[in-house]
């Protein structure tokens, strides 16, 4: 026992020594009025660093000087505190409810249950309207260049436009995700469709000696009347080499089920879907001419509508039910509840056992080819545009000669990301809040007059070699992950498509390094393209995923406009519907026709009984009018 306690004491002592020595403070250049505390919702993976303040780009930022209230340049010190993964919402609510927000000068707004207007009315969010022109001109410049986003960037409070939030914008619409399919399986197990000159013959192609992919795949709808209508009205350049209709998809799914059989894969599936049976933001539902499941903007009617009881949604579920019955849909789709909608069951999809899924760029082309999973041998994954329904239902939900439409509501392709709010805490602490605004203005800087590196690069690209060397320390994140040459390079010649900056190839091959090596997590900064989309393959991806333009998905900045009286009602309505659908839509998909009809009736009954739905819709439409 004695030995035991002695060794325990020694252990504790050495542990504490270790901890104490590892927490040596940096030298702080700034004075108290220029020391800020900000809260960010997302922390970095602790294998990069355990504390966001160890972020090298942040350390660099803390050596710079910014213009303060008095017009002079000051050193700033920004201290970042981050949320716990999965606990952010709880933290945010507690912070707001207990006055804990007063500790922070700037707060990430992503996990708020309250609208910005509410936070402003409660005296928490600072009204930035009077500061904008003088202290955040770069941000305003961007908004001026992008009027679509400027419309909702300010909130209407008592009839006046007020800037309450600083949003993160991405200067270029860059599609990061969408539907993808196994083109190599189509090639191997498919045949030229009917109507094609080579009907019935196998496809030819594959990787050539240089590793470039070639094939002669055409999709069946190209040879139909509808296909020609599509070509005439929607995409004249379409040559049938990519799927555009649900019928193309079904043709493909059929091929995938053959492929699974032939390859002897028993734990795979043709396609899967997010666990409620749908993606709440719209996506495939929009293929039926409708919008999302919740509120969406019908641009033609200039009206906000509710999609949960729509014909389009019903037909969509019908299709899923049929797919499920035919064995095309993952039998266990409803069980992947802990997955994010663009990362459903990656264990299966990324080991080459699925035919089609919703993904981000990580699964494209032959990126999934790994030694460990034999099913990924020779894999070739390609992006697909939203399909259009030409199979199910009647009338408005089905594409026909008299009913030509395109999908309009999906989550992707928005330039706007989450935002942050300045708090009113500085009024008590006397901090130089204008100087902090200068910092964020710097992170929104797109161009400089003197040719120096603009601030958005620090936000989005990280540090150059020269910048890194001013703050370098052995053992820091750049050092450990081989970024000592800088996280991006400035190109000498500007000839290459006007691209001036090149990402360090180490980040290029491991995108997960981008966030920890930059200030990307700090909301409210500007993001922009570097050299990411250059290859021909990448152009195909952007072309497919970006083919239809999202006009119906409500921006967060729009939702943030709701006042306190309606926001709570909106939230509870939203949650009630979501919870009910999450339980009942999978039942419809998995059930027989009787279950299908019964559950649909239940859903309609439930939604119609909700107290505030009408009121919320009304307020939304009022807001829409006010803004335009």
């Amino acid at each position: 026992m004695n030995k035991f306690s002695t060794s325990l004491i020694i252990l504790l002592f050495s542990l504490s020594l270790f901890v104490l020595t590892s927490c040596m403070d940096e030298e702080i250049l700034a004075d108290a009025a220029h020391t800020y505390k900000i809260w960010l919702a997302n922390s970095e993976d602790s294998s990069y660093y355990s504390d966001y303040n160890e972020n090298v780009a942040l350390k660099y930022l803390n050596t710079l000087k910014f213009k303060g209230r008095d017009g002079k340049l000051h050193h700033v010190h920004i201290e970042v505190e981050t949320g716990i993964t999965g606990e952010q919402e709880k933290f945010f609510n507690t912070m707001i409810a207990t006055g804990g927000w007063k500790e922070y000068d700037y707060i990430d707004y992503s996990f708020s249950s309250y609208s910005v207007t509410e936070l402003y009315e409660a005296g928490i969010a600072l009204d930035l309207t009077d500061y904008m022109e003088e202290w955040l001109p770069n941000y305003m410049n961007w908004l001026q260049a992008n009027p679509d986003y400027a419309r909702t960037a300010a909130n209407i409070v008592n009839g006046e436009r007020r800037y309450l939030t600083l949003y993160s914008y991405h200067d270029d619409v860059e599609n990061w995700g969408g539907f993808v399919y196994r083109r190599d399986w189509v090639l191997k197990y498919g045949k030229h469709p009917e109507g094609s000159p080579k009907a019935g013959q196998p496809f030819t192609g594959g990787f050539d000696e240089n590793g470039t992919w070639n094939d002669d795949i055409t999709f069946p709808s190209y040879y139909t009347e509808l296909g020609q209508i599509y070509k005439e009205n929607i995409d004249p350049e379409w040559d049938g080499t990519c799927p555009v209709f649900i019928s193309d998809w079904e043709w493909m799914l059929d091929i995938f089920s053959t492929a699974l059989k032939e390859e002897g894969i028993t734990d795979g599936y043709c396609t899967t879907i997010y666990y409620p049976g749908y993606i709440g933001t719209g996506d495939l539902i929009s293929s039926f001419g409708g919008g999302g499941v919740m509120f969406y903007l019908d641009e033609e009617a200039n009206e906000i509508k509710f999609g949960g009881t729509s014909e389009a949604f019903n037909t969509y579920i019908k299709m899923m039910q049929i797919w499920y019955k035919k064995g095309w849909l993952d039998k266990k789709f409803a069980e992947h509840t802990s997955d994010i909608f663009y990362q459903v069951d990656m264990k299966t999809t990324h080991s080459g056992k699925a035919g089609m899924w919703y993904s981000n760029i990580s699964s494209l082309f032959n990126r999934l080819e790994k030694e460990i999973a034999p099913a990924t041998k020779g894999i070739y994954v390609v992006a697909a545009r939203q399909p259009i329904n030409d199979v199910y239902g009647e009338g408005k939900v089905k594409f026909s000669k008299d009913n030509i439409f395109t999908p309009k509501v999906f989550y992707n392709t928005s330039k706007e990301f989450s935002g942050g709010i300045f708090t009113t805490a500085f009024k008590e602490t006397g901090k130089d809040i204008e100087c902090l605004m200068s910092v964020l203005n710097f992170l929104n800087e797109w161009e400089t007059e003197d040719g120096s590196l603009p601030g958005y690069l620090l936000n989005f690209a990280g540090l150059t070699k020269e910048q890194y060397e001013t703050v370098a320390k052995p053992g820091d994140m750049y050092d450990r992950f081989g970024l000592t040459e800088g996280s991006y390079f400035v190109k000498e010649d500007y000839s290459d498509n006007g691209i001036k900056y090149k990402t360090n190839p180490i980040i290029g091959s491991n995108d997960a390094l981008r966030n920890p090596s930059t200030l990307n997590r700090i909301v409210g900064g500007l993001q922009g393209p570097l050299d990411k989309w250059k290859g021909e393959e990448d152009h195909q991806v952007q072309h497919e995923w970006g083919f239809y333009i999202n006009s119906g998905y409500l921006l967060r900045s729009f939702e943030g406009q709701l006042g306190s009286n309606i926001s709570k009602k909106r939230n509870s309505t939203f949650n009630d519907i979501e919870e009910y659908l999450e339980q009942h839509v999978p039942m419809m998909i998995k059930g027989d026709d009787a279950t299908f009809d019964r559950e649909w009736a239940n859903i309609k009954k439930y939604i119609n009984r909700l107290e505030y739905l009408e009121e919320v819709l009304e307020v939304y439409n009022q807001l829409l009018n006010d803004l335009s």
């Binding site: 707001i96 949650n575 039942m587």
Partner: protein, 328 residues
């Protein structure tokens, strides 16, 4: 100073004598304070602790009667009387939630309760001391694993192709992810099974101790009469631990609505809400899942507390009746 009674008998007499003239409450209190004031002073730190950390936050219960707005706080929000309770009771799924809570509680109270007792009885018939010790120590292990880990492990085992699902498929059940099965008793049984796995060894300690202290002569006499292990257990061990079992059971009734539900939050998923959603998770979702409706959430919590308190009082009463002892 009152002369202290020396024996139990005298004490009883003294109590009787005291109660006959029936001093007024105030006087008795005064007397008691005079006699025991030191003890009460010693109690002060505990009192302070309980008042601060348990009773002071109870002011939050007024949220149950408020149209609570986080931004305005408890003191700024307006009262809406019983509207929160109305919302709660008339919500579509409240009936299901109650049913699930009761179902799981009942299983815990019956199956979950009896397993440690049986385990202790069986253990008592093992003669090999080393083996007995090994069994005992291994049976405690699950108790030391944190809930999050326990749930993660069980999820893995219950999944299709997992060890439990495989095992059950030998008995003709479809190999499936059992946590996605929304037939009525499945989730309840899983919940109880996990509870048992975690606590049976630890819960058996007290019964083992009681059985170990049974007069060996009784066993011996029975053995001479030709009674086998079974008979001896039935006629000797079981009767001797019955009073303890009754006390433990009544205690359990009082807390059955409050404990053991936290893991449901980690286990369930929307597709099995219909069988897995219970008061604890329901309250959690109302409070934290987006809508942040603290009013209704507090009302639901208050409702849960009321049920638990009623059960506790009943069980304490039963306990006192049956075993002549009580918690308070």
């Amino acid at each position: 100073m009152v002369q202290k009674p020396n024996t139990e008998f005298q004490a009883k007499q003294a109590r009787l004598i005291h109660s006959i003239p029936k001093l007024s409450f105030g006087k008795r209190l005064k007397k008691d304070l005079k006699k025991n004031w030191v003890v009460y002073v010693i109690f002060l730190p505990v009192l302070l602790y309980v008042l601060l950390f348990n009773y002071a936050p109870l002011f939050g219960l007024v949220m149950a009667f408020q149209d609570f707005n986080v931004l305005k706080g408890v003191f700024g929000s307006s009262f809406n009387n019983f509207a929160n309770f109305k919302t709660l009771f008339f919500r579509d799924n409240f009936g299901i939630v109650l049913r699930n809570t009761a179902g799981m509680a009942l299983l815990n109270l019956t199956v979950g309760f009896i397993v440690p007792v049986i385990f202790a009885l069986l253990l008592s018939t093992i003669r090999h001391k080393r083996y007995k010790r090994v069994i005992q120590i291994s049976s405690y292990i699950p108790y030391f694993i944190s809930t999050v880990v326990v749930v993660a492990l069980w999820k893995e085992f219950l999944d299709e192709g997992g060890v439990i699902a495989n095992f059950l498929s030998w008995f003709g059940f479809r190999n499936q992810n059992w946590l996605a099965n929304n037939k009525v008793p499945v989730f309840w049984l899983i919940n109880t099974a996990i509870d048992i796995w975690v606590g049976f060894g630890y819960g058996a300690i007290i019964y083992c101790a009681a059985i170990a202290n049974v007069n060996p002569n009784l066993h011996e006499a029975a053995a001479i009469d030709g009674a086998g292990e079974w008979k001896r257990m039935w006629h000797v061990s079981i009767p001797s631990i019955i009073p303890l079992v009754v006390t433990m059971l009544t205690l359990r009734i009082g807390t059955v609505f409050l404990q053991g539900f936290d893991k449901v939050l980690l286990l369930y998923s929307p597709s099995i809400y219909s069988t897995a959603d219970c008061l604890t998770t329901y309250i959690y979702r109302i409070a934290f899942a987006g809508s942040a409706d603290y009013g209704v959430s507090t009302a639901a919590g208050l409702f849960q507390s009321a049920i638990a308190t009623t059960l506790l009082i009943i069980s304490n009463y039963l306990n006192r009746k049956i075993t002549k002892s009580s918690l308070f």
